[in-house]
Amino acid sequence: MTQLMNENGIRCDGRRVDQLRNISIKVGVLKNADGSAYIEFGKNKILAGVFGPRDVHPKHMANQDSGILRCRYHMSPFSVTERKNPAPSRREIEISKVIKEALLPAVILKDFPRTVVDVFIEVLQADGGTRCAALDAASIALADAGIPMRDLVSACAAGKVADQIVLDINNEEDQEGQADMPIAYMPNLEKITLMQLDGILSPSEYKKCVQTGINGCKLVYEMQRKALMDKYFTNET
């Protein structure tokens, strides 16, 4: 078993307890998608593409009064240590659902009745915290596609490792740590739109963990904002 934190409070990948992994975001990376983003979040490498609003097939899924949102989170066979079967697992189907419900509070689909906005996420390399990184990319891709939004959705996990509440759990910490709490947050509306927990936290640890996660989401938000600014408001060279 790896030692997850040393005596100086430095984690196995060299970070402090409140430090995010390196994040880089590119906007508009796909030609065919209406909006897209590519994120590297630590060793996670994730693509998100958005199509829509467009006609719904099959038609009986359409809603007369509003557009609908669909979401597919999928991992490439080579994205994890042991080759993954390409068919969607139950885990991927559940994550697709919680990601959809984390994005729904942000998107405004009232003006697009009978249409669908499709969010497709592909995890090319996974390293802990994929659902949060996927959400960060998906949120950017929705904005890039011009879908009206109340706020960006920013996501980041907090957790408990070596008896400490830490920000942004990596793969080793997820495997061998004590708790993992993915959080998605709309920073301007101050709303938590995704929250899960696997692991054991006391009530006071729980409070600290939520607050730590929200702080992380705010840091991520700044990077998402910058990526969009770079794409839309600077002269690219």
Partner: protein
């Protein structure tokens, strides 16, 4: 369709009006659970079983225990698998066929509630390390779906586990063989209790009914253990929660959980 949207809107307004006065459609207070009845041993052919009625929601859960191969890299642990099915007779909208994303989420949330609290000591379920272990299958059939399937399935699964008897297997010629007539209690370390809360407007209610689920803004399911810790969470629904609300929800989950745990402890 337009009509049903209007009707849903009217229902929501009615529910909100009542909530302002601290009341709910069926007369409950905001933090009152519907009547919960738990019967165990209802399926004698299973190693453990329970029928749970939570208001008009009804679940039958059976536990099957049999030798299995361990998961790769988890050779020092027995296997624990929770499944759920919303039977088509339970709900006019349920359809036979592969499980929907709702059902997959339901099964996985129930599973995590039991797994993450470390309810069972899975290390005690190994026959030969890396080769042969005891597998515990906890299958829940929803027979009447009337709101809050998460908690009802969780209680039924926990009750079936608490009341199950574990058959004894011996290794003969490297293969597990049943020892007739010898059983033991399951290696229970703690009792997980799931509490599901719904936010409607600014109000947090527990144990939402179907009507309340249809117009809720967001859902939060929190599982706590006997020691008063928080062990598993799942947020759902089309909107979110504030920081204050998720803190408040954790307090409700702990206090309501303590009451329900007493009902479950009697089954051991």
């Amino acid at each position: 369709m337009a009509n049903s949207v209007i009707l849903a809107q009217l229902k929501r307004e009615q529910i909100l009006e009542l909530l302002k006065e601290g009341k709910r459609l069926d007369g409950r207070g905001l933090e009152d659970q519907r009547p919960l009845s738990i019967d165990v041993g209802v399926i004698p052919k299973a190693n453990g079983s329970a029928r749970v009625r939570l208001g008009d929601t009804e679940i039958v859960t059976g536990v099957k225990i049999q030798p299995d191969k361990p998961f790769p890299d988890l050779g020092d642990k027995g296997i624990l698998i929770c499944t759920a099915e919303i039977l088509p007779l339970a709900d006019p909208n349920a359809e036979p066929g592969p499980p929907s994303e709702e059902v997959i989420e339901l099964a996985r949330v129930v599973d995590r509630g039991i797994r993450e609290t470390e309810m069972l000591d899975l290390h005690q379920l190994v026959l030969i390390e890396n080769k042969s272990v005891i597998g515990i299958f906890i299958d829940s059939s929803v027979t009447d779906a009337n709101g809050n399937l998460f908690d009802a399935c969780s209680y039924a699964s926990v009750a079936a586990l608490l009341s199950c008897t574990v058959p004894k297997y011996e290794i003969q010629n490297e293969a597990p063989v049943l020892v007739e007539g010898v059983t033991s209690k399951p290696p229970v370390k703690t009792i997980p209790v799931s509490v599901t809360m719904a936010r409607i407007g600014d109000h947090i209610i527990i144990d939402p009914s179907s009507d309340e689920e249809a117009c809720m803004d967001a859902r939060l399911t929190i599982t706590t253990n006997t020691e008063g810790n928080i062990c598993a969470i799942q947020k759902g629904g089309i909107d979110g929660f504030t920081l204050e609300q998720v803190i408040r929800c954790s307090e409700i989950a702990l206090s309501v959980g303590t009451k329900i745990r007493k009902q479950l402890e009697k089954l051991m």
